[in-house]
Amino acid sequence: MKKYNKICVVTLLLLISACSKDFLELTDPNVLTTGNFWSSSEDVEFAVVTLYPIFNSVWDGAPEASNLRSDAVALAATDFAHFNQYYTFVNTPVNGVSDEFWYNAYTTIFRANTILKEMESIEFKDSGQKDLLTAEVLFFRGAAYFRLAHMYGLVPIVLEPAESEEEFNNPKAETLEEVWDQAITDLQAAKAGLPEDHDLIGRVTKGAVMGFLGKLYLYRAGYLGDNSYYALAANELKEIIDLGKYGLVEEWNDNFTSENENNEESLYEAQYDVFPGSYDETQPRPGNASVPGISGEIVSKPSEWIFVEMTKELDIDGEMDIRLLHTLYFDGGLPLYGVDFVDLGDALVCGSGDGGDGGDGGDGDIECWEEDLTGEEGFWVEIVEEEEPGAEITEVLLYGCWDPATGDEFEHIIVTIDKGCRLRFDAWEEELLVNGCDVSSDGGNFDGWFRKYLPVDLNCYLDGPAVNNERILRYADVLLMYAEALVMSGGSLTDAADVVNQIRQRANLTEMIFADNNELMEEIEHQRIMEFVMEGTRYYDLIRWGTLVETLEAHGFPDGASNIDFDKHKYFPIPLGEVNSNESLDQNPLWE
């Protein structure tokens, strides 16, 4: 009997440690689980917010990729092989520079589809709110399909969120039109449901949707060769003008700084911000400008051609176009953070100037000076006579800089001549460094950098990211697209000329009268260049106009141009990872 008691004790011990099912039920404390998410309209509000950051990277996420392929850009460094390949049109699907667009667009679509699906079973107290949120979501999905349609051509159309393995392999749409149509359907629905204003600045409004829709019609006309869409574009864009909500800002540079964001010229803006102490929760803008010492790795710099193109015309006061001065940082242009353009390579390191006072830095900073030599005799007179026979010298300025850290000293002379351009001389070597007037000289001689979108204050990349919003769609674009749509659809040329002159007028240029369509179209193209350098439109403009090869060739990129197969390069290759992981999807045949 005693024995059995003992056995019972032992069994009891076993049972004490025998645990209930809960013992093995553990949840991860490091993440938020879905729990009862998707139960109220509030959850939908939360979810819609997440569309914004991903959508911004659809239109702007890879500044290099969207800007590199343009005649405005020269490669600043050749050691980034994948950018080099991409730039010279020898990239393969392995390259991956353009892949982010694909993935970000589909992430946007996936999130939009998820929200649309989950919304169905949620009860909204205010049905108006439901319609509003639906419209907002449809805008993002539509604009993402628009991006896919013009960048990749034939792509899968996905309208439901994938929930299991069976739903992973989406085949491509049957025709190119289907993709564009899907974008139009979504955008039109969004337009119908969104208000002109939103309490929260930065959220999508009707104007933004109309802007994308107008742009889509214009692109569709060019990409699919269907001219009927020009009239649709003109109508859509005219509607925006008629809203009377938008206008051109007086100071052109207000479109690029953090000072005057979400202004009257802005239809849709990617909001960038930094909150000190919570670095992870910020949305810093991706690098775009290219001044060494400021923006990390420098991939691109302005081409010789863009400099010439932008110096073509002086303004009413005989000054350089304000857009040139704010787009490029170059010898003879505006100082940057108080430092004139110098040959120091990476002179603009953090703290090398103290902002706007002409460049007198503190101890150890670069010191710079300026001297007016106008009217004085000098070696430059001879050289000007030799290089530009018959030119009058209007201004001679001497710039000098000294870097106490290295002992390096530079002096150079900028001579402005009445032909509207400037010559730069090395003051010691007595030689001409760059001939700003001579376009025939081989590319790469122009020395300068992009300054558009640089922060207002010298806020070095390493010290913290830039926060100026990217104006993804601005009114100037609406005007110029409208003018183009009018010209292409046979609309009113007077109206077209009028909007082009609005653009010119803001840049302090004389009013122009156009003899014919061609002249008007030429000016539209020129103004698009003046306005939108590094804003990710030029490459797609050249594609929809069908002039990519000729243009690059004419503008000093014969190597790149000779590699272009227009039909192939009209679209980007589908990302390799996508082709590998999606069993129902083949690469674009031209890219195989």
Binding site: K6, V10, L13, L14, A18, L24, E25, T27, D28, P29, V31, L32, T33, T34, F37, W38, F46, V48, V49, T50, P53, A81, W102, Y106, T107, I109, F110, T114, E118, P156, V158, P161, A162, E165, E167, F168, N169, N170, L200, I201, G202, Q271, D273, F275, P276, G277, Y279, E281, T282, Q283, G345, D463, G464, P575, G577, E578, N580, S581, N582, L585
Partner: protein, 1062 residues
């Protein structure tokens, strides 16, 4: 020089105190004397434990078998001696008690631990290897894992690098996990405690892969001198009792416990020096300039890519010295180890306390490893039926790793450092004084066109950068065993293991601005804790019924695993002297803080049954059922059975005639299934992503659900079949075994990539299959000729691995990595980690040979090549050489053969040990050679470049002409070809030891019971055809195995050892 830190003395006193506690004074009694002899030979027995029953009074017999002990006249003497039957002799008032002891036949059977229980070795029916402990402990390695190299059949141990404190990787019978988990260590159980360790590895230093915390066996925290035995459960039938944690194999470690007898104190001292192997032959300053001239012509001033220093040298060579940077960076290093233990036992039970201190300086500058251990074990016989025991162990180690050297190992920096560069860094250099030493700055980044830009003084890193890694480990265990009825025991066993890593990295202001370090004056501090506890409830039954032997085990086990980490980083402090994160002036934008926890649990039922008939037929069943919190409820439970059988043919009647020749012969076979939970800590669950957005400065919260998940991820399964033969010849003087195994690991957890168009991301699936099969051989031979005894042990393992089904092939050959190109590829259906390279066929010795090397169209394949250039093989026959098309299989990176040979000899008081360890069949990509044999860059060159081909002066050379930067476009400037791939076969000699044991007669007079001194040489030489510093390049991972990346090389050590017992 022997220095003991006063702080360490603190523990010494603690020990003395504890010793005093255990050796309680006995009260005055009669003196009993006598002699103990062996009943069969009548020879005196030395070292027999005598104990007065019921007391702690005890002694041991001297060299003549004599003893003297104080004991009450009605007392009982308890005698124990290994190999003999324990005896209880009543004194009955005698003052002289002579005793003769009988040999215990049952004790001759070797008992081994098989998991939860022990068993006679001859009853084992599955595949279990035991380490040769004598050879293992002798090797005196910091980490006992290293000394298992070549000592355990089927166990592959390889070093990631030889820097002090580096942990080792262990595989049992090859790898069976998909990519990420390739080097997950086996399950390690020490005295019933599941242990594991953590190591901080900075791969960034070597391969730019970033830093990581890596799981290790945990054996590195154990003092090798505390280890009694190590068993390795290799096949599934053996390991099934550990079920879901056993798929990588199981290592069972038993530590030493006290022996019956009076307190015995042992002190062990090892000290000596570690010397670097000679470095590669690199150019000195004169030769460096000469090579530059071979590349660019006599007059270097016209060449574009020549450092200013070379031009200055030509102006005035006397300003320059030549430095051997390998010698500057690698130096002799002192090492010392102290171990002390006290142990004893009696009727009450037994105890053992030990402490150890190891101090190992690394041969590379600034590296160091220190470890302190303390361990206490005891068992108490509370009553005839109840036994309670415990293990408590704590260790602390501190590692100072190699200084961070900008994506390059210190080794590479040392051999590639330009020889004219002065170790003193910046020298004063008045510009006008051309006789002064040249001004060469360390840490100067002047941009791409500045040849001095890449010169960074490795000695400066040491000043600029420091890292301390402190590793604390606690192991504790407490058990109670209760004999319910005879043969039926209940045991409850609780254990706890905890490892803490405290990492602190500091940077200071650099002498020159350095663009890679935007975070100067920074501190990074992380603390990681990993702990687990388990509670085992076990019921065991053991009995013999005549010819039938039965043993059974049933149990219920609960385990919990925890992980916690917190880490902070700040930079730009006001002062270099700041040593904590609270220091003033840090820039908030650099501040980083992170932390996380993880917890998982296991609930298990274990069962085992063993039956043996007449010592001839044996069968064992094992079973474990595991439930894991890491899987969803529906797929949580896994069953892991194992069965094995043995037939000792030599015990059959018909064998009796053969027994004289073949004394032992046994066949055994087994099959079992093991599991592995290779997913995350928690079951996959749909999660919310937090993505806020700032609308014109107003931060608004954003939340969204992620993509689809697979909740039904479950156990990976590893199935092993094993067949083994055990044999012994000539009364087991020759013994050994042969085994064949076949393992299939399937349901491997792999990531399936979701197409971007379906939302992107990954989803886990149970797909994938890896097969391993192989053969193991063990052979031993012992012989005694008079006073000369010797034994030889040989073991060899051959493992073939096939990646039958893997998630995706890993194909490289595209862009080269920072310094060593991707040369490893992984293909489904093939062995893991293979080298795929462009093959070469010597040099073009004439223009005719260049013209004759043509493609299918008859066009020359290398039209730009010149005489003296390398001839590449156009593998795909398309007439051009491309990395995409012309790479071909060139060799495997993981060695299929692993072997060890151990020789031990004794002659009178002398003993001699020599161990060999070898790997065969693998190739090594010689990274350092690839870097210094290229006529490329400003780093130093191999002296071989002096022997480069030259049509006039050196037409017979096999070394390609110096063609800097591939100026002549011979296809490619830096191709990863088979020129740098070498056979990696090697045989190492981890130890040669000569020892001398002083005669007992001499030392017993001064109260010493044993004293041995020895001289040890470690890694004296390596037999290999490999041209680098060390062919053992067992890096973890799949894509970097077998690549010599210039990690810390091994040293050659000369040590003195003293072992003394009282």
């Amino acid at each position: 020089m022997l220095v003991l830190n006063p702080q360490k003395f603190y523990f010494f006193w603690l020990l003395i105190f504890l010793m005093a506690l255990f050796s309680l004074p006995s009260f005055a009694q009669n003196q009993v004397k006598g002699t103990v002899t062996d009943s069969s030979t009548e020879e005196p027995l030395v070292g027999v434990n005598l104990l007065v029953e019921g007391t702690s009074t005890g002694t041991i017999t001297d060299v003549e078998g004599n003893y003297t002990i104080e004991a009450p006249s009605d007392g009982v003497l308890v005698l124990s001696f290994i190999g003999f039957k324990t005896m209880e002799i009543p004194i009955n008032g005698r003052s002289i008690v002579d005793i003769s002891m009988e040999i215990d036949v049952s004790q001759l059977k070797e008992v081994i631990v098989i998991g939860y229980v022990s068993r006679n070795k001859q009853d084992v029916t599955s595949s279990i290897s035991s380490a040769d402990m004598e050879n293992t402990v002798k090797r005196n390695t910091a980490d006992i894992t290293e000394s298992l190299q070549g000592n355990v059949t089927g166990l592959q141990v390889y070093a990631t690098d030889k820097s002090p404190g580096s942990a080792f990787n262990v595989n049992i019978r090859g790898i069976s996990s998909p990519f990420g988990a390739a080097d997950t260590p086996p399950l390690v159980i020490v005295d019933g405690i599941q242990i594991s360790g953590l190591q901080y590895v900075d791969w960034e230093n070597v391969v730019g892969e970033g830093a990581d915390i890596r799981q290790t066996t945990g054996l590195e925290n154990i003092n090798p001198n505390d280890v009694e035995s190590i068993e390795v459960l290799k096949d599934a039938a053996a390991a099934a009792i550990y079920g879901s944690r056993a798929a990588n194999g199981v290592i069972l470690v038993t530590t030493k416990r006290g022996q019956i007898g009076a307190p015995r104190v042992t002190y062990n001292l090892t000290l000596g020096t570690q010397t670097p192997y000679p470095g590669p032959d690199v150019a000195n300053t004169e030769q460096y300039i000469q090579i530059m001239q071979m590349m660019y012509g006599e007059d270097l001033s016209e060449a574009e890519l020549v450092p200013q220093a070379a031009l200055d040298y030509l102006d005035n060579p006397s300003r320059f010295s030549s430095y051997d940077w390998y010698d500057i960076v690698y130096n002799n290093a002192f090492t010392q180890t102290h171990d002390m233990s006290v142990s004893g036992g009696g009727d009450f039970g037994n105890y053992r306390i030990s402490t150890g201190y190891k101090d190992q300086n690394g041969i590379a500058l600034g590296t160091k490893y220190q470890r302190f251990n303390i361990r206490a074990t005891s068992d108490f016989n509370v009553s005839k039926k109840i036994k309670i025991g415990q293990t408590l162990s704590y260790s602390r180690s501190k590692t100072n790793p190699e200084p961070y050297a900008f994506s390059r190992s210190v080794y590479y920096k040392a051999i590639a450092q330009v020889p004219y560069f002065s170790p003193n860094g910046i020298n004063p250099n008045p510009e006008n004084d051309l006789s002064a030493p040249p001004r060469i700055r360390s840490f100067y980044w002047g941009g791409g066109d500045n040849p001095e830009a890449l010169i960074r003084n490795p000695l400066d890193y040491k000043e600029f950068w420091s890292r301390d890694i402190i590793n604390d480990n606690l192991q504790a265990n407490l058990y109670l065993e209760y004999e319910i009825v005879k043969s039926l025991k209940f045991k409850i066993n609780g254990s706890y293991n905890q490892t803490d890593i405290h990492l602190k990295t500091r940077t200071r202001t650099m002498s020159q601005p350095e663009e890679y370090f935007n975070a100067e004056k920074s501190i990074e501090e992380s603390m990681i804790r990993e702990s687990n506890w388990s509670l085992d409830n076990l019921l065991s039954y053991n009995n013999n019924f005549g010819k039938h032997a039965v043993s059974m085990l049933a149990g219920y086990v609960v385990q919990e695993f925890n992980e916690r980490n917190i880490s902070g980083f700040k930079a730009d402090f006001l002062s270099d002297k700041t040593s904590t994160l609270d220091g003033p002036g840090a820039n908030p934008l650099y501040t980083e803080l992170s932390g996380s926890t993880a917890k998982s649990r296991l609930n298990s039922i274990v069962a085992q049954a063993f039956y043996s008939f007449n010592d001839k037929y044996q069968v064992t069943f094992d079973f474990r059922r595991d439930g894991s919190s890491s899987f969803d409820e529906s797929v949580r439970w896994g069953n892991f059975p194992g069965v094995s059988m043995g037939w000792r043919i030599s015990n059959e009647q018909f064998w009796s005639g053969l027994k004289k020749i073949m004394s032992d012969f046994k066949i055994r076979a087994g099959y079992g299934i093991l599991g592995r939970q290779n997913s995350g800590t928690y079951p996959p669950r749909a999660t919310l992503e937090y993505i806020p957005y700032s609308f014109d400065g107003t931060l608004v919260d954003g939340l969204i659900t992620g993509g689809p998940i697979n909740s039904y991820i479950t156990w990976e399964e590893s199935k092993t079949a094993n067949i083994g033969l055990e044999f012994g010849f000539l009364e087991d003087r020759i013994s050994g075994s042969v085994e064949y195994f076949d393992r299939e690991t399937d349901n491997l957890i792999t990531e399936l990539i979701i197409p971007g168009s379906a939302g992107g991301g990954e989803i886990l699936t149970n797909e994938g299959l890896i097969k391993n099969n192989g053969v193991e051989l063990e052979l031993g031979y012992t012989q005694s000729i008079g006073e000369f005894n010797f034994s030889i042990g040989l073991n060899a393992t051959y493992v073939e691995t096939e990646l039958t089904q893997i998630p995706e092939d890993v194909i490289y050959g595209e862009a080269p990595e920072w310094d060593v190109p991707h040369v490893i590829e992984i293909y489904e259906g093939r062995a893991p980690s293979e080298f795929w390279l462009i093959k070469t066929d010597g040099l073009f010795k004439s223009q005719a040979e260049i013209d004759a090397h043509v493609g299918p169209e008859g066009d020359p394949i290398q039209p730009e090549a010149q005489v003296g250039d390398i001839k590449f093989i156009d593998f795909n026959g398309d007439g051009v050489i491309t990395t995409e098309g012309d790479r071909q299989f060139a060799g495997r990176a993981r060695a299929p053969w692993d072997a060890g040979l151990n020789i031990n000899m004794f002659y009178k008081s002398f003993d001699f040990t020599m161990n060999f360890y070898g790997n065969f069949g693998q190739y090594v990509f010689n990274g350092p050679k690839y870097l210094i044999e290229q006529p490329y860059g400003y780093d130093n060159f191999s002296a071989k470049l002096l022997n480069a081909f030259d049509p006039e002066t050196n037409p017979d050379s096999d070394f390609p002409r110096n063609n800097p930067y591939d100026i002549d476009e011979n296809w490619n400037s830096n191709p990863a070809t088979d020129r740098y791939l070498e056979k990696g076969n090697f045989v190492k000699v981890p130890i040669i030891e000569i020892g001398y044991t002083l005669p007992k007669t001499t030392i017993s007079k001064v109260g010493i019971s044993s004293l041995r001194v020895s001289f040890i040489m470690q890694n004296l030489f390596t037999i290999t055809g490999y041209d680098g510093i060390d062919p053992e390049q067992g890096r973890d991972g799949w894509i970097s195995a077998g690549i010599d990346r210039g990690v810390a090389p091994q040293s050659r050590d000369f040590l003195f050892n003293l072992n003394i017992s009282f």
